[in-house]
């Protein structure tokens, strides 16, 4: 008979989320619901009436971990709406910023997943904070890669967390020749560190994949060969950067997108009737607790061609590089493979950057009310912003952030896995939950139905 177990809150990611799992007698997940429990907010509402310069700044504040992706996507959505093409060198600087952000994010994700994994050939799980070798050297290397990513981002973007250099119409300023040389040197140093880091992580992940069983809080859990498999399909708009409605051949189609209510997709009210106090950290939710994922989930379910899809590193590799490995390990390996991609792409763009070139468009239109969208391939997936600007005022703004796409897909991927490994599957998506919380939900007839949640 099925039992319900709840892991709340989930750890080692941004924001608040939980897992509600219906499991069979063997502890295998029959139905998994991964949902955001961050309260509904209203960035789209707040943006209306603001100038196109203000909205990217607002968008960058909805999340502590993806401000660069949101700044770029929102800025470019404004540019798409007002039909403003930016100079080539401004685009180069944005590409460099984008790749620097991705480099930092992959390294950070390494720290987050290492505690789930084993030192190959041992029964020791990896504590990235230990002072003992060989982990200490690896941790230092990860920190240096993060530092390189942030420093390059700071040079190209003006600030490494909330970039100040981006502007509707291009960038405020170009960088100096010396700064370009510094970015180049740092990226070269990054290459020498990222290659062994990628090789090591792939070896550790392959070792994990090949294990018969793993230990979770003292419980021996058999490792399924299909950990994290799903058949939901993938969505990516560019191997590195993004796309927009301004392009001649955009790689995302708004007509194929639809968002539906969480209560069509998640389980209804259920009572927790299984608990495990040994589960890290602090055990699972107590028996008798009532949960209702349908009503507690704070996100809509975005569909592309009528289905939830996976976004992120694997989606990019599947779409643009014929990568085909499924499952959680395949997903994490795809992320590791992006280390080198992001550095080589960054070096290409640094080489292509003319530090004497102009970085701001000569003419920045006020906007005629056309709908424009821009996608940004954020570290954790496709971040699409949609905007309508008229007379230099934003009339409509919406954000479709990566983790929103992944919620339903990851929920499908939980089926068939031991419940103790649900968080391992979830972490493969490198989730960022707080900005995934959405406000407007439409039903199948495209009518807005969830505004009551906001009021």
């Amino acid at each position: 008979m099925s039992k319900v177990v709840e892991i709340s809150p989930t750890t080692r990611h941004e924001g608040h989320s939980k897992l509600v799992l219906k499991i069979n007698d063997a502890g295998i997940i029959e139905t998994g619901n991964w949902c955001s429990i961050t309260p509904v907010r209203g960035v789209e509402k707040l943006a209306v009436g603001k100038t196109p310069e203000q909205v990217p700044k607002i968008a960058s504040r909805v999340c502590g971990i993806c401000p660069i992706a949101h700044t770029l996507a929102a800025t470019e959505a404004m540019e798409a709406s007002i039909k403003c093409e930016i100079p080539k060198d401004a685009l180069m600087l944005r590409h460099i910023l984008q790749m620097a952000n991705r480099l930092h994010s992959i390294a950070l994700h390494d720290i987050l997943i290492l505690p789930d994994l084993y030192l190959p050939g041992t029964e020791t799980k990896i504590n990235p904070f230990t002072a003992e070798e060989p982990v200490r050297t690896v941790a230092k290397r990860i920190q240096r890669i993060r530092e390189i990513g942030q420093t390059i981002g700071q040079i190209a973007g003006g600030d490494c967390i909330h970039p100040r250099n981006t502007k509707v119409g291009g960038m405020y300023r170009n960088v100096s020749e010396q700064a370009k040389t510094k970015m180049h040197d740092l990226a070269k140093e990054g290459l020498t560190l990222a290659k062994p880091q990628m090789d090591l992580m792939i070896a550790i992940l392959r070792n994990y994949q090949g294990r018969e069983s793993v230990d979770v809080g003292g419980m021996k859990v058999n490792m399924p060969k299909t950990l994290g498999y799903h058949n939901q399909g993938y969505m990516a708009t560019h191997p590195f950067y993004g796309s927009s409605s301004l392009e001649e051949h955009p790689t995302w189609d708004m007509d194929r997108f639809k968002e539906v209510r969480p209560w069509d997709w998640y389980m209804g009210e259920c009572t927790v009737d299984f608990e495990e106090p040994k589960y890290p950290i602090g055990g699972t939710t107590k028996v008798g607790t009532v949960c209702n994922p349908q009503m507690e989930a704070c996100t809509g379910i975005p569909l592309y061609d009528g289905q939830p899809v996976e976004v992120g590193p694997r989606a990019r590799l599947v779409k643009f590089k014929h990568y085909d490995e499924k499952g959680t390990v395949g997903q994490n390996i795809a992320r590791e493979m992006e280390y080198m991609d992001s550095l080589y792409e960054m070096l290409d763009k640094i080489d292509a950057l003319n530090t004497n070139g102009k970085v701001l468009a000569d003419h920045i239109p006020d906007g005629d009310g056309s709908l424009g969208w821009a996608s940004n391939e954020a570290p954790r997936g496709t971040d699409v912003h949609i905007a309508r600007v008229k007379d230099w005022k934003v009339q409509y703004f919406s954000m479709l952030v990566p983790t929103t796409w992944n919620f339903a897909t990851c929920s499908a991927a939980l089926t068939g896995a031991p419940w103790q490994l649900a968080e391992v599957i979830m972490r493969g998506y490198d989730p960022c939950v707080s900005c995934a919380t959405h406000m407007i939900v439409v039903d199948e007839d495209n009518k807005i139905v969830a505004q009551k949640l906001i009021q």
């Binding site: 750890t11 080692r12 990611h13 941004e14 924001g15 961050t38 309260p39 509904v40 907010r41 209203g42 960035v43 509402k45 707040l46 603001k50 203000q54 700044k57 607002i58 960058s60 504040r61 909805v62 999340c63 502590g64 971990i65 401000p67 950070l108 720290i111 987050l112 505690p115 990235p128 904070f129 920190q143 993060r146 530092e147 942030q150 420093t151 700071q154 600030d159 490494c160 967390i161 909330h162 950290i281 707080s434």
Partner: protein
């Protein structure tokens, strides 16, 4: 090195009204000429994962965090706090790997001061832009406290900033204005 000997981080979210105080102080400080060993940074919500977990104690000796703190005082009042004074979870890394707090990890190696200002209005989870008047006024006060800690004598400039603000001629700093 990304961060220098002294790091000043403004934390908080300008989308939650007075929670934008930290970033607003940093924006104001960007107009000042500071010594080369000082890094000022608008940390937003990213303090734990972008800064506190990336400081090198061999380089960074002093960390000053500017943020709001509810300690029951009049709105706009400023206090200095130590890491020990913070409620648990105040700077828990959002990527909470083992629920340890990054400031606890580094506090013995880096001198940490938290400049806390009493907010008048924090609207989370609802978005609202703009600082309350009390906190606008507290910006130059906070800057003066920071400059005192880092040993920079800025003479009358800070006073002037405050006077300008009171006359209403200075651009309001920090979060994006609503109109």
């Amino acid at each position: 090195m990304l961060y220098s000997e002294i790091v000043i981080a403004g934390c908080g979210n300008p989308l939650f009204a007075d929670d934008g105080f930290g970033p607003a102080v940093i924006e104001e400080m960007q107009n000042l000429q500071l010594p080369d060993n000082v890094t000022i940074i608008d940390a937003g919500l990213g303090g734990p994962h972008f800064i506190f977990t990336l400081l090198d104690p061999e380089v960074t000796k002093k960390l000053i965090i500017v943020d709001i703190a509810d300690y029951g005082a009049e709105p706009g009042s400023i206090t200095k706090l130590r890491v020990e004074d913070l409620p648990p979870g105040a700077y828990r890394d959002a990527h909470s790997w083992d629920l340890a707090e990054p400031l606890q990890r580094i506090k013995d190696q880096i001198e940490i001061t938290i400049i806390g200002v009493q907010p008048a209005r924090v609207t989370a989870p609802e978005f609202e832009l703009g600082l309350s008047e009390e906190l606008q006024t507290a910006i130059p006060k906070a800057i003066r406290v920071i400059l005192e800690i880092i040993g920079v004598d800025y003479g009358t400039i800070i006073e002037r900033l405050q006077e300008d603000r009171q006359r209403g001629t200075a651009e309001s700093s920090g979060s994006v204005k609503t109109s």
